[in-house]
């Protein structure tokens, strides 16, 4: 009984430690400075109904710090991410937008991360080829400005507040290969044939035994 009491007590302590951990104030998205970074993302192919191919098509991303940015001295790193547009979040709770930054899952795909050089005042750009593990969906680009404590302080995105403009669609790779399909068929056939061979063989042996 003493052991049980000890176990129960340690359980209680552990759960209390866990819950107290979450008592510190969580950092919220709404606290970040909006529009501090001006960012545009231009797909390599544009037009009505164009769907970009993952692994092939590129985005040309141009960014600069807005003249209205107030937290600019704190910027240490710029993290650029690919984010889901609302239409790609429907019926998919694992892509949900949350105000608490650590819970937010709407921007899981890292595009690039580089340190901020305050001396360069002009717009900078770079190219990004869509990775082969980007799922099918509709996206926009967001850049976070991160301070020395690795906390986000400001952001900018290539779409408007409601996330309805300048969106682009991506089609994922299928992941299938002809060699996989062939291997799969071969092993399947082997399994069925091996079974039949055993079965027929045994029946034959039983018949021979019986006729003895």
């Amino acid at each position: 009984m003493a052991i049980k009491k000890l176990l129960f007590a340690s359980l209680l302590i552990c759960s209390m430690i866990q819950s107290s951990h979450g008592a510190t104030k969580e950092r919220l998205f709404t606290d970040l400075e909006k529009g501090a970074l001006e960012i545009t993302a231009t797909p390599s192919r544009t037009g009505e109904g164009v769907v970009l191919a993952a692994g092939i098509d590129k985005l040309s991303i141009t960014w600069k710090v807005s003249s209205t940015a107030t937290k600019e001295p704190e910027f240490k790193t710029i993290k650029v991410k690919l984010c889901y547009a609302p239409i790609s979040q429907v019926d998919r709770p694992w892509r949900k937008t949350e105000n608490e930054l650590f819970k937010d899952k709407s921007c899981p795909h890292k595009i690039s991360s580089f340190s901020y050089d305050p001396t360069v005042k002009t717009a900078q750009s770079f190219d990004y080829t869509l990775e082969r593990d980007i799922p099918t969906g509709t996206y926009y680009v967001r850049a976070y400005a991160v301070d020395a404590k690795d906390h986000e302080v400001a952001f900018g995105q290539s779409t408007n507040q409601d996330k309805t403009t300048n969106l682009f669609s991506v089609q994922a790779i299928s992941g299938r290969h002809k060699s996989l399909d062939i291997a799969s068929v071969c092993f399947s056939v082997f399994s069925v044939v091996a079974l039949l061979v055993f079965f027929v063989n045994e029946k034959r042996k039983a018949k021979i035994e019986q006729s003895k």
Binding site: G175, R176, S191
Partner: protein, 506 residues
């Protein structure tokens, strides 16, 4: 497996049952082993045990192989929450039908062919997972792979032919528990295999497809082993023993009627739906739950999810063992009480799991829930062999099917819609477990009693022999088809509790 003619037909009247000269282990009147030697591989009893649980485990590995990889698969195939939930329902639905069929197959053709055929014919379905490209394909393939869970029936059936009733709770519990462990092993195995393949250079969306070849190969290997090393009965393979005139061919219609007209069958179908059924549902949702709710990495979520399924290693045998201990002191009534207590406790822990807000409490609740649910499965199959002697296969099949039906239903109601979050679904599932376990109070055996009623005092109808022999009509008794039931009834005296004879040397 009764003896109609031949030398063993008269062995029930005063002959010593120790045949250690012929077999590695001591046996009873029906050549079934009376002890359980875990680390032996001796023919035929222990070898059957190991072949049986490993092939069943392989089927669990392949049926739930998709679950820990869902975070990757859902992105590759562009699945919605409904698609993922429906695939989970599909994965357990196929075997509702196949478990019923397997019951009949075992009764008619023997468990060795049943097991081998199923395992080898479902290998193509596992390989075809690498070719799916959308939600429809994913759901269809998970449905087809799920058929192989019918090896549960061949496993339990095979154990019941090889081991005597006094230890059947422990044996069935261990074989099935270790088989169910496959549901836990897969949560560890598949993410690790996936990770290795990815590091060898494959992209994420190709790596998971290649990973499915591993369970596929396991199917082929186990099928071949069962065919080459297994045997149906202690005395040999069914066809050979039948031809020697020792085993009687029974009629499908008769055994079906015997199973279906016994109300206890249906109560067990419901009960198992809420012990095994919830275990299967949890196997499908738990990794994704920990990944999404507590922001863990894929393989971390996999490790936690694995511990749910791996608890089967001792939980299910413990349930069977607890049932056997309860039977030693209180007979069948003890078994029924043990089942109710264990399954209800599992339900309460499931409620707690859904309410847990922190990672540590969630893990603790999950482990306690797994112990309760899995021990309840063991305790269920410690009683099922006593419901009927003639239709053991079909009743095992129906109960097993009930497990899957319960799983499909629970996943459909609680985990496939946007109406409940996963944590709410878990809580409500726990409530449903407690409610659906209450009918165990209705199970009454005239010869042994029930939870609240003592056994019947009628000198004829209150005997085990009457209960089991009444499954045969006069015509069949004339042909001596019921002798197996008579032998079974004698061995079943162990369920009388403290009044039972200490050894069976009739």
């Amino acid at each position: 497996m009764g003896d109609s003619t031949g030398d063993t037909g008269s062995s029930m009247h005063g002959v010593s049952t120790d045949k250690t000269g012929k077999y590695d282990l001591p046996v009873d009147l029906e050549d079934r082993a009376t002890v359980f030697k875990l680390f032996s591989f001796a023919k035929p009893h222990m070898r059957t045990f190991h072949l049986s649980w490993i092939s069943f485990s392989t089927c669990f590995v392949s049926t739930f192989a998709a679950a820990p990889l869902v975070p990757i698969i859902r992105e590759n195939l562009n699945l919605t929450k409904q698609d993922v939930g429906n695939a989970g329902v599909a994965s357990v639905s196929g075997s509702i039908f196949s478990r019923l069929v397997m019951g009949a197959v075992c009764d008619l053709l023997g468990p060795r062919y049943g097991c081998a055929f199923l395992v080898m014919l479902s290998a193509p379905t596992v390989f075809s997972m690498s070719c799916v490209s959308g939600a429809a394909g994913f759901i269809t393939v998970r449905f087809m792979i799920g058929f192989c869970l019918a090896t549960f029936v061949s496993c339990q059936y095979w154990m019941s032919t090889m081991f005597t009733s006094k230890i059947i709770g422990l044996v069935n519990g261990t074989a099935a528990g270790w088989g169910n462990m496959g549901g836990g092993i897969t949560q560890l195995l598949m993410p690790v295999v996936y990770e290795i393949i990815r590091r060898c250079g494959a992209t994420a969306f190709t790596a998971w497809r290649i990973a499915f070849f591993v369970p596929g190969w396991l199917h082929i290997i186990m099928g071949i082993l069962v065919l080459t090393l297994g045997q149906d009965l202690p005395g040999g393979n069914r066809k050979a023993v039948e031809k020697k005139g020792k085993v009687v061919q029974d009629k499908l219609g008769k055994i079906m009627w015997c199973a279906v007209s016994n109300y206890r069958t249906w109560i067990f179908v419901l009960l198992y739906g809420y012990s095994m059924g919830v275990e299967l549902s949890t196997d499908n949702v738990i990794a994704e739950y920990f990944f999404d709710r507590f922001h863990l990495k894929l393989h971390t979520a996999g490790i936690i999810a694995a511990s749910f399924g791996m608890a089967n290693f001792f939980a299910r045998p413990a349930g069977g063992y607890a049932s056997d201990i309860a039977a030693k002191y209180f007979g069948m009534r003890g078994r029924l009480w043990a089942l109710w207590i264990i399954q209800t406790a599992g339900g309460l822990f499931c409620v707690w799991l859904g309410l847990a807000n922190t990672l540590v409490t969630a893990i603790v609740a999950m482990i306690l829930f797994s112990l309760g649910a899995q021990a309840a499965c063991g305790a269920t199959f410690a009683i099922v062999p006593f419901v009927s002697r003639r239709s053991l296969g079909i009743i095992s099949g129906l109960t097993g099917a009930g497990g899957n039906f319960g799983s499909g239903l629970t996943q459909l109601i609680f985990f496939s819609t946007s109406q409940f979050t996963t944590e709410q679904g878990l809580t409500w599932m726990g409530v449903m477990i407690v409610a659906c376990t209450l009918p165990v109070m209705l199970i009454h055996f005239p010869q042994w009693g029930s939870m609240f009623r003592p056994p019947s005092t009628d000198p004829v109808k209150g005997t085990a022999e009457y209960y089991y022999v009444s499954e045969w009509n006069e015509e069949e008794k004339q042909k001596n088809m019921h002798q197996g039931s008579v032998a079974f009834a004698i061995n079943a005296k162990s369920e009388d509790g403290r009044n039972a004879p200490s050894t069976i040397t009739v």
